[in-house]
Symmetry: C3
Subunit: 306 residues, 3 copies
């Protein structure tokens, strides 16, 4: 167990989040240099241990590590070995014995990263554990709002879509509300988690009314398959009509809105292609900020101090 | 779109090709040093985006990038995601947002690299798009002839085999003829592209007559499966008899001939094992030159100037 | 063929093994530095060519290479291409032509690494060829006993389990006996190789008697599937009772015993979970020493001299 691990956004307090945001800003400056690289983590080895496919998140951590001059090794496992807890244990202990200095862990089981953290004395970064948590996503979302709008306190965010199955929802709502933002969620009843009443959010019925007051619009990925499978969910067409960020809805948003999506997008489902062209669209900035945030998290985890 | 991209051999003129050949020679000298590495691209990130398996080409680019001290990340996708144009778009835009400085793209769809080039302002190198183009192959082929024979102008090349399905044929013929070589092709009628009359080549009927006057013999890979499948093609045995570089044909070639193959070879089909032992065989030199040519292409793409 | 290759533990003599053990100790000191990295192999390229899955061994070599500042490239092939000797040949020759400086080869065919060594003039390290040899495993096992117990001469090792199908058994027994250790093996008759009488080992009938005198206890991995399949083998329960390192057997071992396993363990089969907590358990030390031993082997192979 390491007190430098990042397993949940709740591991951080306001000061801790501020530190990461500031460090992320400092690394943004590094990325604009002719040689966008610092020797901060030279000789350190970061292992990306991915028990679930996520090329996008893995590459973001890998690039972040390289920008800090760390060495990286990748361990990716097929779904079949997921069920054996023992195998995960032995994999981690083996990599630890090889001298890995930090673990970036993605696993479909909620709580997996925390279990890994109990097995080693080196820092563990949770890169997504089932529908549970994804703290670096929350941090990059926060940095994105911060870079667009300055002080985030008091800003109103509407988050739309599949709250129930989204680790992004859980972590990002945690980060946004901790920093003083107000969050509303809009979703069909079957895509709201059962305990939603205990979350620090308002549930809104009508998306259009909510959008009128929104500073930040956060669209979640909606899997077409889920719509087709769920007998209670409305049809895809009805879903888009009620919860999609259609071209028409996007046109009504003011230019200073911050329009976000964790990717990958289902264009034409939760978000219309035209909406991604809105001046407020910050979806690629989220990706860019993902690199600097992960640089900050790795830097702090491996013992650097800003 | 970047004017440093290399999408087709036709993007280059004679001066541009000469520049790459010379730079490739300079890097050949680097590779003979005790530490065969230069810091030219330190801090640059090259993404190998391969939507089609080609370990050989990917490793050649990866080694070239490392020799220039660039960082590399690999994105490989299975065939299943190929059909979704949108997915390719989002993959590229995401990597671009992560700060990738150059894309090396392999895709089975003709024109894929050019589409990618339209989506980003960073250079794109075409590492093969279907049966269409493979410009770095053309350049390494040219460098190979040049290193063996000096000035290539006026040299006569016979290219043999499956012209129709070969991106190598298209690109290499372009480079050879642009630099003043004469190219003849020998192939069964069904393996000649329909528009062959507009290509700057002669079609020859009899391989043996053509070989008598050849300075360069270029054997293309012939897939056994294609022979078995195609009712019009002669049997494998007949194919080898008419178009294979058999041991006997190889014996009749003079030592100064340059004998080439893009690899991987089907030994015993288009080329006999004995033929690869001919003093003119330059097949491994092609592989070696592939590294220096890709160093040159990456160096120029990423803003270095010789 | 290179005289710096390591294909079999028999390629080394006592002096050669001592050199690797000492160099491994020196690298252990490097790993304890703040930046655990030396520039010894800067600019060298090591190819991990794995025709059989072994993430654990591949990562150990990859980390070892990076600690020496070498570049690494990975070539992994599915089982399907294993049968074609020609394909292996062309793969190796192609990588060789690309300028790879050393090959780390894993292949399921006994003798594969030696064949590869015949095709190139660069060093080849055997990372496991079928049930035949795994020399770096033998060296890390030896280093592990050495670090725990000092001079290994005269120490008594009991090796338990599937001797027949284990390359670890073959190589480690070779290294242990060459350095003056006594080795006994305990296994069901069907898991002893036919030529066992010619091996420099004693075959013991009763594990418990053998354990009483053991300085080193080496448990081999026992595949459950093999037990289920083999009509002659006792049931899993009987196997564990006779040949497993149960919690009870582990309790009777003195603290200074060295308890080893090549990994990955089948907990509850050849080794009880409690046994891995014994003070003599050196299983993770084996993994750690694997990195320093491979650093030593790569360093010597690539021309460094201690």
């Amino acid at each position: 167990m390491s007190d430098r691990s990042l397993l949940s956004i709740d591991d951080l307090d306001v000061a801790g989040i501020r530190e990461i945001v500031e460090l992320s800003d400092a690394f943004e400056e590094v990325l604009r240099r002719p040689i966008p690289k610092v020797p901060a983590l030279r000789g350190r080895t970061v292992a990306n241990v991915f028990f679930e496919d996520s090329t996008r998140t893995r590459l973001s951590f890998e690039i972040a590590a390289k920008r800090l001059s760390a060495d990286t090794v990748n361990f990716t496992a097929s779904g079949s070995s997921l069920s054996k807890g023992e195998s995960l244990f032995d994999t981690i202990r083996t990599l630890h014995a090889m001298g890995v200095d930090a673990f970036v862990v993605r696993h479909r089981a909620p709580g997996a990263a925390r279990r890994v953290d109990g097995w080693v004395d080196t820092p563990v970064i949770n890169a997504g554990d089932g529908a549970h948590e994804h703290p670096t996503q929350a941090l990059l979302d926060l940095v994105t709002v911060h870079r667009r709008r300055g002080d985030v306190e008091g800003l109103r965010c509407v988050m739309v879509g599949d709250i129930e199955h989204s680790r992004v929802a859980r972590s990002t709502i945690g980060a946004f509300t901790m920093m003083g933002m107000h969050v509303s969620v809009a979703a069909p009843a079957t895509l709201l988690p059962t305990g939603i009443d205990d979350w620090p959010v308002d549930v809104v019925e009508d998306l259009d009314t909510a959008l009128e007051k929104a500073d930040v619009v956060y669209m979640l990925r909606m899997q077409k398959e889920r719509i087709a499978r769920d007998p209670v969910l409305p049809s895809l067409r009805e879903y888009v009509a009620r919860y999609g960020l259609t071209a028409e809805r996007a046109r009504r948003l003011p230019p200073e809105v911050v329009l976000m999506h964790p990717g990958p997008m289902n264009r034409g489902v939760e978000i219309a292609p035209e909406a991604t062209e809105h001046p407020g669209a910050a979806i690629e900035e989220q990706v860019r900020n993902g690199v600097t945030v992960r640089m900050a998290v790795l830097y702090l985890a491996l013992g650097g101090m800003p």
